[in-house]
Amino acid sequence: MRLVALRAVALVVSATVNAPSLADDAPANSAAMSHGWEFSEQGGAELFGDVCAACHQPDAKGAVGAGAYPPLTADKKLVSTGFMLTVLFRGLKGMPPVGDMMSDAQVADVINYVRTHFGNAYPDAISTADVSAARPRTSPP
């Protein structure tokens, strides 16, 4: 039932320009899927639910098989936004650099979301400008 309600909300949102992200702050699978290579999700909850949760799981508790996806719950490493930016833009071991498929605002949103949910309560939010400065760049040819 909850999922159905969320989808209805998302459909309305997608039809509105510059609409705020879902009022419900819990991660969930979005009704709409992205059209291109990059993620179209907006807001930390949507991005976490559609991207991060693929491996770290919807509850951020991670998973264990032959190898493991680390939990992001009450995670002391997340104190460093620089660490998170590096992971999102460079990847980490088997983890792909998913930040390559997000805008600066999306990267900021999802980092701020994870750092304030799942038992994390870091008060310092990262800005879009911070993300832009950290994004890998190359000189023009």
């Binding site: 992205s34 991207v51 693929a54 799981q57 032959a66 650099p97 498929m101 832009s132 760049r137």
Partner: protein, 532 residues
């Protein structure tokens, strides 16, 4: 921000801008293009001459790389043992059949409800004719192959935003694109626009070639008529008796094809990796892994999760959890180690190798991929739409629908590959969903191409490779930069350890890469052993 600095345009982003990449083919091509310089270097069964003098080897992983190494080393006289996390051989060489139960990371469990004889290959599913090594092993180990239909001219190209969302037959788009381009080029040639580039003699030959290959009429036009119909088929097919005369259809205009972007789907049929003839094992790709395992029945220990790999001057010790014994930690020792564990896993396992090799192990992200197997109550694609095998490409999130390349025209039920994503946003989005939600969406998307989905769908399974417990991803997704910096370090023998797998090859994500990597690794290892 300095004006001289611009955000890095990833290779993929570039592809997307020019419109070449919505299907996975271009991304796939970018990932593997380094491997296409020449044909498979495989030149027949490996010869490991010389006496290993009773040396022992522990092989980690019973996928195709690990089993190739184990089989050939045993033939050469080594004492071989294999540790495997799963309870079956094959690794990513895997077929899901009715009755199989699969639990993904996160705990969601699917029970495959397919009817007998129907299956999904979640991993590899087709073998190019130029993958000589895997073909040779299939022959030697008695794996029966059948053709895998990659190109079916009667399958579809589809865009939700073109032709009112109506799927177009591949033969129409292909013939009409070729014809439209040939007409343009013929026009330019006749106007003399190419005179500087083409000699007078070549000009006449070129015009005839354009007419022939583009199905142009006597005036070098691509129009409805016998010439174009000979390539694209007829609006009303030829029959017998009265009212039997065929009627040629109207070609789709070049402008409509260009703006629809449906031409992107044609690329998948041009790539060297996907050219005719391709093969699949009768009964599912998993038959290969099963056949390999039969060569070394007593050597593979299943349910063994490797947790530490240590080496010193005298040998290698591997700690593993015995999953059948509640995870009790055991140790296995050998003189040498061939490690065919995916880097996504190996990067998490303590291992004392050189800093350079460890950096290489840690340098490779693993691709995202999702596949869907959907069972339908009848083979409507054959019965209603005359599609016998092949692949429909779409810009919907499912990206493609593949029709079974077996049991043609026999009626009964069938299983479609209801979607196959490879990297990109949708692959992650599907992965993040519960399996039932993935299948539900794949059915809803597929119904936009085949409305019969809605009444004929029976059951389905999906495998999202980032949630596969034994690999945590589909395959090593090397960037050019990472390969340049780390590939050789990954492949060097480090003390008593050598790595193998598709990740240690220039044919990533293909079984051929896994097998060739293993053969190269054990050749070098054997040389070292014999010399020591």
């Amino acid at each position: 921000m300095s004006d001289a600095m611009v955000p890095a345009l990833s290779r993929r982003r570039l592809f997307e801008i020019i419109g070449a990449s919505v299907g996975g083919a271009a991304a796939y091509q970018a990932m593997t293009r380094l491997g296409h310089a020449e044909e498979s270097p495989y030149r027949g069964p490996i010869m490991l001459d010389g006496d290993p003098k009773g040396a022992s080897v522990i092989v980690l992983g019973a996928g195709l790389a690990g089993m190739t190494a184990a089989i050939e080393l045993e033939h050469a006289g080594y004492k071989v043992s294999v540790l495997e996390y799963n309870l079956r051989p094959g690794g990513r060489n895997w077929t899901l059949r009715g009755g199989d139960v699969y639990t993904e990371l996160g705990g969601a469990t699917q029970r495959c409800e397919f009817d007998p004889g129907l299956y999904l290959n979640p991993g590899p599913w087709r073998i190019p004719y130029h993958h000589y090594a895997i073909l040779d092993y299939c022959r030697r180990f008695g794996v029966t192959l059948e053709p895998f239909i990659q190109l079916n001219h009667n399958a579809y190209l589809h865009s939700a935003n073109a032709f009112d969302g109506k799927p177009q037959r591949i033969r129409d788009i292909k013939a009409d694109f070729d014809g439209g381009v040939a007409e343009l080029l013929a026009k330019a040639t006749k106007k003399g626009a190419l005179d500087e580039a083409v000699s007078t003699e070549d000009r006449e030959i070129l015009l005839e070639a354009l007419r022939s290959l583009g199905a142009l009429d006597k005036d070098f036009r691509y129009r409805a008529g016998d010439n174009s119909a000979a390539h694209r088929g007829y609006a009303k097919h030829a029959g017998g008796g009265l009212s039997a005369e065929p009627i040629a259809g109207d070609p789709v205009g070049l402008h409509d094809i260009l703006t629809s972007r449906l031409w992107r789907g044609l690329q998948s049929f041009l790539l060297y990796d996907f050219q005719t003839t391709m093969f699949q094992p009768v009964g599912g790709m998993g038959r290969i892994g099963e056949a390999f395992a039969r060569q070394i029945p007593a050597r593979i220990r299943y349910g063994a999760k490797v947790v530490a790999i240590r080496q010193n001057d005298s040998g290698v010790a591997v700690e593993f959890e015995d999953l059948a014994a509640g995870g009790m930690v055991r140790e296995a020792r050998a003189d040498w180690c061939v490690c065919a564990i995916p880097l996504s896993i190996l990067s998490q396992i303590p291992i004392n190798v050189s800093a350079r090799m460890k950096a290489a192990i840690d340098a490779v992200p693993y691709a995202s991929a999702v596949k869907f197997g959907l069972q339908f109550s009848r083979r409507f694609w054959e019965e209603d739409e005359h599609i016998f095998g092949g692949i429909t490409y779409t810009d919907l999130p499912i990206r493609q629908i593949s029709y079974p390349s077996t049991n043609f025209n026999a009626g009964g039920k069938g299983v479609l590959l209801g979607g196959y994503t490879f990297d990109g946003a949708n692959s992650y989005e599907f992965t993040a969903m519960p399996p039932a939600e993935r299948v539900k969406r794949a059915v809803a998307f597929g119904a936009q191409i085949h409305p019969q989905y809605l009444s004929e769908f029976e059951n389905g399974v999906s495998v999202a490779w980032h949630r596969v417990p034994f690999t945590l991803g589909c395959a090593g997704d090397w960037s050019d930069e990472a390969r340049k910096a780390h590939y050789n370090d990954l492949c060097e023998i480090d003390g008593r350890i050598v790595l193998a797998g598709e990740h240690a090859s220039y044919i990533p994500a293909w079984q051929e890469g896994a097998v060739l990597s293993a053969l190269d690794a054990i050749q070098r290892l054997h040389k070292r052993v014999v010399a020591s």
